[in-house]
């Protein structure tokens, strides 16, 4: 699909670059000012995060610039790596080997091929129906019944979270919205900006104002102050960006709120998995952030909701 580079998408991208310049400047000043050793570690991590944001923004924009196919490939690779991180930390058994091979080399490519060819009908059921039924069948043929249900569920959940849910982000490009033809890239950008800013703002509010923990057993860093402040601020930003979307300002507020709540839920559920496995991060690919799955945990839950809200209300 062709992407129209109108003033609005340029404005969105310019806004992101502006934010990153600001973040880099703040990071630079903090690096000069902060003397205490513990503070320096926080600042170093902050600056690593900002650098990683620059790289992620550059990659994402480059993918967007190639038109739809670049974004589909980028999200496909993201899913592949996220699934890799998920399965690595989820114990499977020898008998699951071939099932996993199917998951990585058949289900991931097919799901994104369905996105690329705009085959909506199969896209929404391919993993929840066909892959879900195939996974236990392939594993049972290997003849190992130990932990059978748990093993099956782990692979299914990996496919669901890392592949199916994430694929709804580039699937925004397949929607036919009257009066918005060729402009869908802005919806994708809008979703990513709102979800990721919500993460960043929850982190910032949490670090500065956080007092009361929400679920200390799951995630000691999530506080009521940080979560409410971050979600409220990200919802305001989502509302203020209504001009880039087919939404009215009030609609944008409602949709941004839903997306941010879903993102929060995603972060919490993925934290629970990490806590259960006794790890802090899913990987170490992105400097300062952890793994790919650590970065996109909120997107996993937000993307399908956003996709279906837009599809139901605007197409």
């Amino acid at each position: 699909m062709n992407i129209v580079w109108d003033r609005e998408i340029i404005a969105l991208l310019a806004g992101i670059v502006g934010l990153l310049v600001l973040a880099s400047a703040i990071g630079w000043v903090l690096a000069q000012r902060v003397q205490a050793e513990s503070g320096q570690a926080v600042v170093a991590n902050l600056n690593a995060r900002v650098r990683a944001w620059w790289i992620m923004t550059a990659v994402f924009t480059a993918a967007l610039a190639t038109g739809g196919i670049g974004s589909v490939i980028l999200f496909g690779l993201t899913s592949f790596i996220a699934l890799r991180e998920f399965i690595t930390l989820t114990p499977t058994r020898r008998a699951d080997h071939r099932t996993l091979f199917w998951a990585f080399f058949v289900f991931v490519p097919v799901q994104y091929w369905l996105v690329a060819t705009h085959w909506y009908g199969l896209f929404v059921i391919f993993i929840p129906v066909y892959a879900f039924l195939f996974v236990p069948v392939r594993s049972v043929l290997a003849g190992d019944t130990e932990d059978f249900l748990a093993r099956t569920a782990k692979i299914q959940w990996g496919l669901m979270v890392a592949v199916y849910c994430v694929s709804h982000a580039p699937a925004l490009l397949m929607l036919d919205i009257p009066g918005y033809a060729g402009e869908n890239a802005k919806l994708l950008l809008y979703l990513i900006v709102v979800v990721q800013l919500s993460d960043v703002l929850q982190y910032v509010f949490g670090k500065t104002l956080g007092r009361h923990k929400i679920v200390p057993k799951v995630s000691p860093n999530k506080t009521w102050e940080g979560t409410i402040g971050g979600i409220a601020a990200a919802t305001l930003i989502g509302t203020a960006l209504w001009w880039a979307t087919p939404f009215s300002p009030w609609e944008a507020a409602g949709i941004a709120l839903v997306v941010n709540l879903a993102g929060f839920a995603g972060g919490l559920c993925m934290s629970a998995i990490k806590r259960d496995r006794g790890i802090k991060d899913f990987g170490s690919l992105i400097q300062g952030h952890g793994g790919v799955l650590d970065r996109i945990d909120s997107l996993c839950f937000a993307a399908p909701l956003f996709f279906h809200l837009v599809r139901y209300l605007y197409t």
Binding site: R84, E85, I87, T88, R94, H97, L100, F101, G283
Partner: protein
């Protein structure tokens, strides 16, 4: 004891050089293998060492080899089973030209003696070695008893650092009996080196070496 020899690897064609680079990149990509140095990280000097690791997959030798810094890698020879690696075609070419492997017969007592002779001549030439002292691939969970080969090496060269390396997840990436790998994330953890203590017996030493692998993440 004579001056330690500096190992000169056999000359390699440009094609083989390039292929070795591709193999390293491919191995790192497929196994996502990260090298972690719990013990002292290797310095710039290519010190002769013996790396010994747990064994659960045909990928093991390749992954450990690829995890080494390039100047060390060129001077490090995996000790590999001839029955698997000494085959005509691609596998044989990789083991001879790219890995520069020391191929040994396992099994027969006679083969064992010849294998040890090959190890000592490689060590005498100054090469570093990669050993899998369990001898055969384990189940990937527990670490089996170590074969005496490591002890003979330690006894012959008490001046060398023996570096324990724990390879994780490779048995999930390419288990026994499978041909196609599943690209999970593996890792190689290099532990603090050990040496044969004066007067240390075979059993004690091999247990200590096995415990070093367990300390890096293996299960007893």
């Amino acid at each position: 004891m004579s001056e330690p020899a500096i190992y000169t690897p056999p000359p390699r064609s440009r094609t083989a050089d390039l292929a070795a680079g591709v193999l390293v990149a491919l191995t790192r990509l497929v196994t996502g293998a990260q090298a972690r140095w719990v013990g002292p990280a290797p310095g710039p000097e290519a010190t002769q060492r013996v790396y010994f690791a747990n064994h659960s997959s045909h990928l093991d030798a390749l992954v450990l080899w690829a995890a080494l810094p390039s100047d060390l890698r060129r001077r490090t020879r995996p000790v590999a089973a001839a029955d698997y690696w000494d085959r005509p075609g691609l596998r044989g070419w990789i083991s001879r030209e790219l890995l520069n492997a020391v191929l040994v017969d396992r099994g027969s007592a006679q083969g064992g003696r010849e294998a040890l002779a090959r190890l000592s001549s490689a060590l005498a030439a100054g090469a570093s070695l990669i050993l899998f002292p369990e001898g055969t691939r384990g189940d990937g969970v527990t670490i089996g008893d170590l074969k005496p080969g490591l002890y003979f090496v330690a006894k012959e060269r008490p001046d060398l650092d023996l570096v324990p390396v724990y390879l994780q997840n490779l048995c999930r990436i390419l288990p026994k009996g499978e041909i196609l790998p599943v690209p999970l994330l593996g890792s190689s953890t290099f532990g603090p080196p050990l040496r044969l203590e004066p007067g240390e017996g075979r059993r004690t030493f091999l247990d200590r070496a096995r415990n070093a692998l367990i300390a890096l993440g293996g299960q007893p």
